[in-house]
């Protein structure tokens, strides 16, 4: 059990960094505008990240499993560590990074090392989703922007009611965003461990939680620790574009990016689409930061701004390539060390 805890620590570290960085996007504006105290925001985020991860995290995790089902615990440890280290290096040098892209690269590194074939179909699906994520976020934010403008003009709300709705909206949307973040991104944190650990189901009297749910719960707790210990610093210090926008813009940006994360992470939505005989949406972990950037660009487009920040777009596409490449190489080298220096079976 102690060794199991040690091995999953790399995933928990990844979870911590996800909580510290990505969660700041969801409540950054609300905390900055003093709509809500950081502590209250952190509690809401933690609760909804845990609910999202435990109830709906399996979908995106299943897709990662299809890319490479890591069956050895030391192997999963190295893959998560390589991914976390990539995030650390990229952040250190101020490069755009996403845990989703980093974990995929690390899994491919494991596939190469263990001579496990990488399904091109699954990989194509994942990469297409990454490209689609900011594009969809931009489309949603254009739609929500138009709806918002039309509604506010039609309702003729006075400034006080308008701000009451924005205030409440920021909290509700932040909670929804936390749920979607948990559902979509928990796969990055704990997905690689689901095939390599055997844990007994936990009987909680009213209900039983299975092994995957226990893992996701632990991962979500790590995200929550990241939120509580470090996201406030990120909100206050990082000069990210989300912190400079107005509360009403933030409402649309967080809503549209959360919606994208929800689409690519919700198992229940997939079940609903299947029951309605509609085409399903692939459940793939995507980058919440890139969804945010996409949404901000969407608002700019809806407003008629001609100047799209091409540097930001270039950085995003650069990240799609560089992050998985770096984590793939790191994972490959680390797996070699784990196997030949520490004498641990990695596949």
């Amino acid at each position: 059990m102690n060794m199991t805890l040690f091995y999953i620590s790399s995933g928990l570290f990844l979870g911590w960094s996800l909580g510290a960085n990505d969660a700041a996007n969801l409540f950054g504006t609300a905390v900055g505008a003093k709509v809500i105290k950081f502590k209250t925001a952190a509690i809401i985020m933690s609760i909804f990240v845990i609910i999202g991860a435990v109830s709906s995290g399996s979908g995106a995790s299943h897709t990662l499993g299809k890319l490479g089902a890591i069956t050895s615990l030391p192997g999963a440890f190295v893959v998560a560590l390589a991914s976390a280290f990539t995030v650390f290096i990229m952040t250190r040098y101020g490069l755009p990074v996403s845990t989703s892209q980093s974990i995929v690269g690390a899994i491919i590194g494991w596939n190469l090392f263990s001579s496990n074939p990488t399904s091109i179909a699954v990989l194509t699906k994942i990469v297409l989703t990454w490209v689609l994520c900011p594009v969809l976020a931009a489309i949603f934010s254009i739609i929500f922007y138009k709806l918002f403008i039309r509604k506010t003009r039609k309702l003729k709300l006075n400034i006080f009611m308008r701000h009451y709705y924005i205030r409440t909206g920021l909290i509700v949307v932040g909670a929804f965003g936390s749920y979607s973040l948990g559902a979509n991104n928990i796969a990055n944190v704990m997905g690689v461990f689901t095939n390599s650990i055997t844990l007994p189901p936990l009987d909680l009297y009213f209900f039983t939680i299975n092994q995957t749910e226990i893992l996701f719960f632990l991962g979500a707790v790590a995200i929550s620790v990241g939120i509580f210990t470090y996201s406030h610093n990120v909100m206050a210090t990082v000069g990210n574009s989300i912190y400079k926008i107005s509360p009403s813009s933030a409402l649309i940006v967080v809503l549209s990016s959360s919606f994208v994360l929800f689409l690519f992470g919700s198992v229940s939505l997939q079940h609903l689409l299947i029951s309605l005989h509609l085409p399903t949406i692939p459940l793939v972990p995507v980058s919440s930061s890139q969804a945010i950037v996409g949404s901000i660009i969407g608002i700019g487009l809806a407003r008629g701004d001609k100047n799209i920040n091409l540097k930001k777009l270039r950085n995003i596409s650069f990240g799609w390539l560089l992050t998985p490449m770096l984590s793939m190489i790191l994972a490959y080298i680390s797996l070699f060390f784990m196997q030949n220096v520490f004498m641990q079976g990695v596949y």
């Binding site: 006080f160 009611m161 107005s246």
Partner: protein, 216 residues
């Protein structure tokens, strides 16, 4: 929910009443100056009394608005901006009272030939302030309309400047006032009247920033 809706309506109504009070006081200032120029001093005094009452009423309303704003759960930034706007608008009604008080105390005698221009100056400066009040109303309920009102404030402020310069030029160059003391006294009055549009422009600029902050 209902109580928040009710409170927001009440607060909005108080601010609307405050804006109406300022608007009435501007109209009364125009009436008071016209009465003074036509040497109907009885009508002037009666109007001046009404301006004073309105100014006191506006002060009371300002206090009520401030208290209500703190009770209402607003975004702190919005609360600060609305407070700052109300406080600045109070300067407009203070100016109307101040101008009519100076007319009451000093009883300036403008040459008859300038009457038309003085009335045009008053009308123009009041127009600028009226558009400021419309911009403030739009800021509270129809944000997207506010900018067009602000551009009109600038137009009337400029018109006021032209008229002020014309009157001052005539005062000092057309041999219509004999003593320098009188020239300077009348110049001070035109500056005071034109000052309302300058103040309106300043508040309008502030309002523009408040609007930008709230645009999506």
């Amino acid at each position: 929910m209902n109580s928040i809706f009710k409170k927001s309506i009440e607060l909005n109504m108080k601010i609307e009443k405050f804006l109406d009070t300022i608007s009435q006081s501007l109209l009364l200032l125009e009436k008071a100056i016209a009465a003074h120029l036509s040497e109907d001093y009885e009508a002037f005094e009666e109007t001046f009394g009404r301006i004073r009452t309105l100014e006191t009423e506006a002060d009371n309303l300002e206090l009520e608005i401030k208290t209500s704003l703190y009770k209402f759960m607003l975004l702190p930034d919005t609360r600060a901006d609305v407070l700052s706007l109300v406080k600045s608008l109070d300067n407009i009604i203070d100016a109307t009272e101040e101008i009519s008080k100076e007319f009451h105390i000093q009883k300036p005698v403008f040459p008859d030939v300038l009457d038309k221009d003085i009335l045009a100056l008053v009308a123009s400066t009041i127009k600028a302030a009226e558009f400021l009040l419309s911009a403030a109303r739009a800021f509270l309920s129809e944000l997207y309309m506010a900018s067009s009102h602000i551009s009109k404030i600038k137009f009337y402020e400029h018109e006021t400047d032209i008229l002020e310069e014309k009157i001052n030029y005539a005062l000092f160059n057309d041999q219509i006032v004999s003593s320098l003391a009188e020239k300077r006294q009348l110049k001070a009055f035109t500056s005071m009247i034109a000052g309302i549009s300058d103040e309106a422009e300043l508040i309008g600029d502030k309002l523009s920033i408040f609007i930008i902050k709230r645009e999506i």
